[in-house]
Symmetry: C4
Subunit: 209 residues, 4 copies
Amino acid sequence: MSDGFLQIASTLTSIARGFHSRGWLVGTSGNLSAVVDREPLRLAVTPSGVDKGEFSPAQVLLTDEQSRVVSDHLAKPSDESPLHVRIVKEHGAGAVIHTHSIWNTILSDRHAGDGGLGIEGYEMLKGLQGVKTHQHREWLPIIENSQDMLALAESISDTLGKNKDAHGILLRGHGLYSWGRDLLQAKRHVEILEFLLEVLGRSILINGN
Amino acid sequence: MSDGFLQIASTLTSIARGFHSRGWLVGTSGNLSAVVDREPLRLAVTPSGVDKGEFSPAQVLLTDEQSRVVSDHLAKPSDESPLHVRIVKEHGAGAVIHTHSIWNTILSDRHAGDGGLGIEGYEMLKGLQGVKTHQHREWLPIIENSQDMLALAESISDTLGKNKDAHGILLRGHGLYSWGRDLLQAKRHVEILEFLLEVLGRSILINGN
Amino acid sequence: MSDGFLQIASTLTSIARGFHSRGWLVGTSGNLSAVVDREPLRLAVTPSGVDKGEFSPAQVLLTDEQSRVVSDHLAKPSDESPLHVRIVKEHGAGAVIHTHSIWNTILSDRHAGDGGLGIEGYEMLKGLQGVKTHQHREWLPIIENSQDMLALAESISDTLGKNKDAHGILLRGHGLYSWGRDLLQAKRHVEILEFLLEVLGRSILINGN
Amino acid sequence: MSDGFLQIASTLTSIARGFHSRGWLVGTSGNLSAVVDREPLRLAVTPSGVDKGEFSPAQVLLTDEQSRVVSDHLAKPSDESPLHVRIVKEHGAGAVIHTHSIWNTILSDRHAGDGGLGIEGYEMLKGLQGVKTHQHREWLPIIENSQDMLALAESISDTLGKNKDAHGILLRGHGLYSWGRDLLQAKRHVEILEFLLEVLGRSILINGN
């Protein structure tokens, strides 16, 4: 194992445990990944079906472009690993985090018919990479959920191709994918988008639609 | 004490303390159990009236099929122990967890007239044992609460007999019973069902009924 | 200092810190007390204006029936100490805990015109001392707030005289007083009443009045 | 580094980490400062773009009246440092804390048209410096957000000149600034104002406007 992989596994674990305690990785849901090498692609990724509250760095898998495990582990990588690979390769992300929160579940279902959610006017938006003002309008695309990972990967790829500035994408009734140049930026993006989704949800409650 | 019992007592304690901090075992409410042996039945179970936030493995009782304490403890097992025994024997569970949360209390009362709650369309459902798609419809039966433990045990037994695929059951204005092949699976099922109940509750608030 | 006082100061501190982290003792609000001796009355009590999140046992004061400090401390006891003395003397409590939560603040204001709040039908009620069934109706009296501690003490005394079975009392827009035979029972009562107030608040939101 | 600065940096870090875990400093949002010396002005301040959940005292910067770093750090101070300087110089504060919470974001937007929010009738108000009764009416001014820090500083200065008794100020869709004679008092004011904003938000939900 390279030092880079060990460092990434440690950071990934710390984020996973923190997000678990916030209720965003309930049960064994959610997954995280980070690029270890680009050529050939090597991705650190969480295994399938593990409790993120009890997670340790030794459980982080190293996988290749086909999401095959190349580290010395018997565990399977997350079923959604191919989605991580697509976001890393096509959107230039260095890390991808997928969370299931109460508000991303509700709002991704409520606004699916609009194809996405527009968020603007909040200072918090400035925490997203490249955003310079609260007047920015962030469009968070929503795609239909599917159990066909290839179809879902195509759908994500297609949606990201049309939304090159997006910092995240919602899967209907499923959760949020966000990413960043590295794990720390991806973590920041998730925290900000989850905050804004809760602001949006509670604003609808208090102000009406 | 067998190693199996000590290991189970430790895991059970850790889950109890974690769920207490989430607000699901408030006051001295809630109880947990796990099968130590099947023949004859030996169940590790939480004692009656203890604060789960201060709970330690040495307090876990070992009981028999009649919920009599067979370990060297003076404490009484939870009054609801006979319900755990029924779920273990008739539903094949290896562990049972009973939680009182804000949302399971409210929704078990609100939907009692329908005899249960249907939950479908959420990816989170896939964390329930045997569920392969978000299109699954989970039926969470609701039964009337009672202080007559024998009557309540009959009611649970009858309801589970009619809902063999259920992963949990609600007692009206009382709480959630869920279970699994072992404590870790039961914990996962509770986390998922509590998550989905909160999604359902907040969805009703935001979308109307 | 007697061993009894040191033990009580330690338990009181642990409860104060736990409740602070739950958001029930925000800023420097709230106060706790416990009887150390009955004849003459000696009460362990939190000092005025301290942050309960940083609280230590050495800060717990020993006071007499007139709320004068008899331990070797320069700090002043909580301004509301006379209310604690009244509840201890007239209601037979061994410990008193006063919390400010979001829900007790809102509901004590919303239902002040009714003179109190009725709560019934919840299993959680059984955690209150002497309650044997969820069919119990708990009446939580609400009195007007005042900065005149003598008037407030009279009002509490009068209200408790008329509600001998009450486990708590709400001060309008101010907070909850609850009590028990000792600190652990008082803690349990607070946890249960705060749980039930949140259930009530969210039930009103979801079901309408 | 003076002992005073080291002590302040330690307290500031502890508050920052605590508020991060409450969700008030999400992503890398929010900033804190405290006066180390008045003549010439020396301010301890959080650096720009750091995760407050991972923050350590060694990262606290010492800055002058023009928000230039005078300690041995390469990091930039928070972009909003000039706002802290204005509040410290013109309002006599010894410490300033700026938080982004769900409720301050929503309510600062909802009530921007009224120029502020009035809060009265709550005992919790008495935790604000100089407030003696729950009958106090606290006026929390709301100003429009801007990315022009000089304009924003003028706007804050102007608003504080007209509201000399204010304990905090809201920036629309952005967050809360509060302050105190020192960090501990500023912390108390933030906790109280955030509590009252949540009470106000949930009261609107339950009672209608």
